[in-house]
C-alpha cells in the first residue's frame, strides 16, 4: 500500500478551477517531485494534502494517507496529523518563522502541541533534531531568534520543526528556491539524508528541473492544474511523451548563439573600486563597524562584449551594479565609461548616464502603474539634450516595441495589461530606446518561468545581432550566464576571484570558490533534446 495516494483530485477556489483530476502516489522512502511552471497547481496540490487550502476551496476526489482519506477528515483530526504524521517545509525561510519567538521554542512547539512527550524529553528531542539538521545547540543555542540566522540556517530550523516527530510524509514546497546554490546543495543533501534515514516519503514541489532530475525517484509534470506526464525519473527522462515536458526541459537548458562581437575597444573601466557600509555598533559604546561590500574590484569591459557577473547573495554584485549606474558613490576607486567618470564631483555625470541603461529583475515593480507604456519606455529621453518629439518620438516608440516583439499599438496600454515576460520585453525596450553604449541586466530573467526565460534569452541574442549590444549580465544563475555571455567574472565577498572566457571558466574553473559554485549547481540531465 502506498504511503500517500492522491486520486483524481479536483479543486476549485471560489468557482475557479485550480486542479483537474490530479493523481499521484508516494511510497515510504520515496521522493516524488512535482514540477511545472507558475500556475500549474503544484503548490495547491501540496496544500491540499495538508488540508491548508485557502478559504472558498472545494475539493473532490481522494487523498489517502496510509489508506485513510484526508479530504473529509474533521479539522480536529487534521490538526493531530499535521506536524506528527505529515510535516511541511515552505519556500520562504525568511518569513516562515515567527520573528518574536526563539528557534528552540518554535521547534519544541511541534512536539508539545501533539503531547508527544513530557517537556524534558521534548527539550532533548529539540536539541537532537536541531543537531541533525546541522544546527548543534553548542553553536546555535536554542535561545536564538530567527533574525539572528541566515536564510539557509532558517530553512534548517523549518526542516527541524517538520521532522521533529519523525513524520511518515514530508512535503517540501520549493524548499531551496530562495537560497543560494551552495546552500541549496546542502539543504537538498539534508533532505535526501533524512528521507533515507527515517524512510519518509518526500513530496517535493519545485520548478527547477535540474533539482528534480537530481533528487526524485518519480517525476510528476503539471501544467494548468493537470498532470501531463508522470513516471519513474530515469524512464521519464529517456522517454518523454508529452511535448510540454520536452519543451520544459529544452527551455531549462536553453542555449542561444551570440553573434561575434565587434572590434574590441575599452568601454567600461572599473579600477580598484571599494564600497563600505556602516554596521550597527557592537556593545553599549562600541564604535560602529564597517562592512566592505565591494573590495578593490577592477575590470574592463570592451565595446561589443557580453560580460557576465556571477556570485551568491551578499557577494557585492548589487552594490557594484549600483555603483556602475552612478546610483551610489564609492569610497575609493574609479569607474569610467568611454573615459569619463560616472561620478563628477559627488554628482552623477549626466554625459555618462546617457550612455548607460539597466533592466531589473522584477517585471512587476519596474514600472509606475499609473503611466502608459509610451511614457514608461520614453523615460530615458529625459537624459537627452534634445529628446525626440512628435512623429519622431512616435516612430522611436513603435520601432522599439516592434524590436522587442510587441506591437506599436501597445504604447497606449497600462503595464498591468501585460504578462511578466511581456513586461520584461518592455523593460528592454526602455533600456534600448536611447541606444545606450552599455546595458546592465540585473538578474533580468531570474523571476521568469523557464519557457518565458528561453524566449527572452532568444530576444537578447537577436538584439545583439541588430543593435551590437554591449552588456554586463548580473545573475546568480550559472546556466543562463554560460549561454548569454562571452566572458564571465565570479564574485565572492566583495572581490572578483576569477574572470575569463565563459566557456573556459565553466569547463575548467581555477579558483576553489568557482569550483564549489559549479559543483553545487544541479545539472540538467543530458537527454538529447537539444540535439533533436
Amino acid at each position: 500500500m502506498s504511503l500517500l495516494q492522491i486520486e483524481n483530485l479536483s479543486l476549485s477556489i471560489h468557482g475557479a478551477e485550480i486542479l483537474k483530476q490530479v493523481s499521484l502516489s508516494i511510497d515510504p522512502g520515496q521522493i516524488v517531485a512535482v514540477t511545472g511552471e507558475s500556475g500549474s497547481g503544484k503548490s495547491m496540490t501540496a496544500l491540499a494534502v495538508m488540508q491548508l487550502l485557502p478559504n472558498g476551496a472545494q475539493a473532490q476526489g481522494a487523498i489517502r494517507l496510509e489508506g485513510q482519506d484526508l479530504l473529509n477528515r474533521p479539522e480536529g483530526e487534521m490538526c493531530a496529523l499535521r506536524g506528527a504524521a505529515v510535516g511541511m517545509v515552505f519556500q520562504e525561510p525568511m518569513t516562515a518563522l515567527n520573528p518574536v519567538k526563539t528557534i528552540g521554542d518554535q521547534v519544541m512547539e511541534t512536539i508539545l502541541i501533539h503531547n508527544a512527550m513530557p517537556r524534558p524529553q521534548a527539550l532533548a528531542r529539540t536539541q537532537e533534531v536541531l543537531t541533525r539538521v546541522g544546527l548543534p545547540p553548542d553553536r546555535f543555542p536554542l535561545s536564538r531568534y530567527p533574525h539572528e540566522l541566515s536564510g539557509g540556517q532558517r530553512q534548517r530550523v523549518v526542516i527541524a520543526m517538520a521532522i521533529a516527530l519523525r513524520p511518515k510524509l514530508l512535503i517540501a514546497d520549493e524548499p531551496t528556491t530562495a537560497l543560494d546554490v551552495t546552500t541549496q546543495a546542502q539543504i537538498l543533501d539534508l533532505l535526501k539524508g533524512l528521507v533515507r534515514e527515517y524512510s519518509m516519503g518526500l513530496l517535493m514541489i519545485t520548478h527547477d528541473l535540474a533539482v528534480v532530475a537530481d533528487m526524485a525517484d518519480q517525476i510528476v509534470v503539471m501544467r494548468r492544474g493537470e498532470v501531463v506526464e508522470s513516471g519513474a525519473t530515469t524512464h521519464l527522462l529517456r522517454n518523454m511523451q508529452h511535448p510540454y515536458t520536452r519543451m520544459l526541459f529544452e527551455a531549462s537548458g536553453h542555449q542561444v548563439s551570440l553573434p561575434r562581437a565587434a572590434d574590441p575597444r575599452p568601454l567600461l573601466e572599473v579600477t580598484e573600486v571599494t564600497r563600505d557600509y556602516r554596521l550597527p555598533r557592537k556593545g553599549l559604546f562600541g564604535t560602529p563597524g564597517h562592512h566592505r561590500a565591494v573590495d578593490g574590484v577592477s575590470f574592463a569591459l570592451n565595446k561589443g562584449e557580453r560580460l557576465g557577473l556571477v556570485g551568491e547573495s551578499g557577494c557585492g554584485k548589487s552594490t557594484l551594479t549600483r555603483a556602475i549606474l552612478g546610483l551610489e558613490e564609492v569610497q575609493s576607486g574609479d569607474i569610467r565609461l568611454d573615459g569619463q567618470p560616472v561620478f563628477a564631483g559627488h554628482r552623477p555625470n549626466l554625459a555618462v548616464r546617457r550612455k548607460m541603461q539597466v533592466v531589473f529583475q522584477d517585471p512587476y515593480g519596474s514600472f509606475n502603474p499609473r503611466h502608459r507604456v509610451a511614457r514608461l519606455i520614453t523615460e530615458p529621453f529625459h537624459l537627452l539634450e534634445t529628446p525626440p518629439a512628435g512623429s519622431e518620438r512616435q516612430d522611436r516608440i513603435a520601432e522599439m516595441l516592434t524590436a522587442v516583439g510587441l506591437s506599436p499599438d501597445d504604447a497606449g496600454k497600462y503595464i498591468h495589461e501585460f504578462s511578466g515576460g511581456q513586461r520584461q520585453r518592455i523593460a528592454i525596450a526602455r533600456a534600448l530606446i536611447i541606444r545606450p553604449e552599455l546595458i546592465l541586466f540585473d538578474e533580468a530573467v531570474s523571476a521568469l518561468d523557464v519557457s518565458v526565460r528561453a524566449q527572452i534569452l532568444d530576444l537578447l541574442a537577436e538584439l545583439c545581432a541588430t543593435y551590437d549590444l554591449t552588456y554586463l549580465f548580473i545573475s546568480h544563475d550559472l546556466r543562463v550566464v554560460r549561454t548569454i555571455t562571452d566572458r564571465v567574472m565570479v564574485m565572492q565577498a566583495g572581490r572578483i576571484v576569477e574572470q575569463g572566457e565563459t566557456e573556459q571558466v565553466f569547463a575548467n574553473p581555477q579558483h576553489p570558490y568557482t569550483q564549489t559554485l559549479i559543483e553545487a549547481a544541479p545539472v540538467l540531465p543530458d537527454i538529447g533534446v537539444n540535439v533533436a
Partner: protein, 321 residues
Amino acid sequence: MPNVASMLRYALKRLISLLISLAVASVVIFAVIEVAPGDPASFMLGVNAQEDTLAALRAELGLDVSKAQRYFNWVGGMLMGDFGTSYTYRTPVSQMIADRLWVSLPLALYALTLSTLIAFPAGIYAAARRGKPGDLTVMGATQLGIAVPNFWFAMMLVLIFAINLRWFNAGGFAGWDQGLWIGLHSLTLPSIALALPQAAILARVMRSSLLDILGEDFMRTARAKGLSRRQALWRHGVRNALIPVLTIIGLQFSFLLAGSIIIEQVFYLPGLGRLVFQAISARDLIVVESVVMLLVFAVITVNFLVDLAYAAVDPRLRSRT
C-alpha cells in the same frame, strides 16, 4: 550578554531623544507664552498700582530679569519641583497642580485600562471571526463608537445613569480621603465616557493588525505543525499583532489626557482641565504654561515607555540601532 547590552543601548538612545524633545518642547512653550501681550504684575495689581509696588511684585515673580534668565529659572525650578507662584492665587503652582493631578491622572489611567480591557477581546474576537456576523456586529459598533464625541456621550451617560437611574452622581468629586471605592465610583462615568470611543479605535487596530498577521507565512508554518486556528492565533498571532497596537495605546494616552480635560467640564471634576480653564480666564499664564508643560511631558514620557515596550515585544528591535 549581547541582548542586555543592545537593550541598554536602545534604551539609552531613546532616553537621549526623550530629553532633547523635552528641552525643545519647553523652549516652544516658553516662547509662545512670552508672546502674550501685557505685564502680569500690572494685570494682578490693577491699573492704579504704584510703580514701586509693581517693581517689587515683578521681582517677587522673577519677571525683572532677561528672557533667557527667566527661561532657565523656570526650567531649573521645574526640575526642583518648583513651578513658580500663581499670579492670581499667590500660591505655589506645584501645589495646585499636584492637587488636580490626583484627579486627572487616575481618570486617564482608569479610562486607558477600561479601553484596553474592552478593545483587546473585541478586536481578537472580530479578527477570529472575520466576515462572520460576530465580526460585523463588533465592527458596526466600533464604527459608531468612533463617531461619538466623548463629551456628548458623557452627557448622555449623566442623563441616563445619574439623572434617571440615580446610580451615580451627576458630577463632582468626593476626594480620595473618602476611600478608594468612593473615589473610583465618582470617576466611573467619566472613565466610561472617555474609554468607549478610544476602545472602538483600539479594537479596530487590534483586529486589522491581527488580520495582517494571519496572512503571514509563519502562521501557515504554525498550522502545518498541527496548531489549530485558535492556537495559532493566540500563540503566534497576538504577540506580533501587539506591535502596532502599542503605538496606538501610546497615542491614546495623549488623547485620553486631552480628553479628560474636556470630560472634567462635563462632570465638574476638579482636575487639570478646570485648573487650566480658570487660569486662562484669569490670564494666569504661569499656571497655563506649567500645566501645558506637564501634559507634554506626560505624552513624551509615555511614548518613551512605548518604545521600550516595543523592544520587549520584538527581539529584532534590540539588535537594530
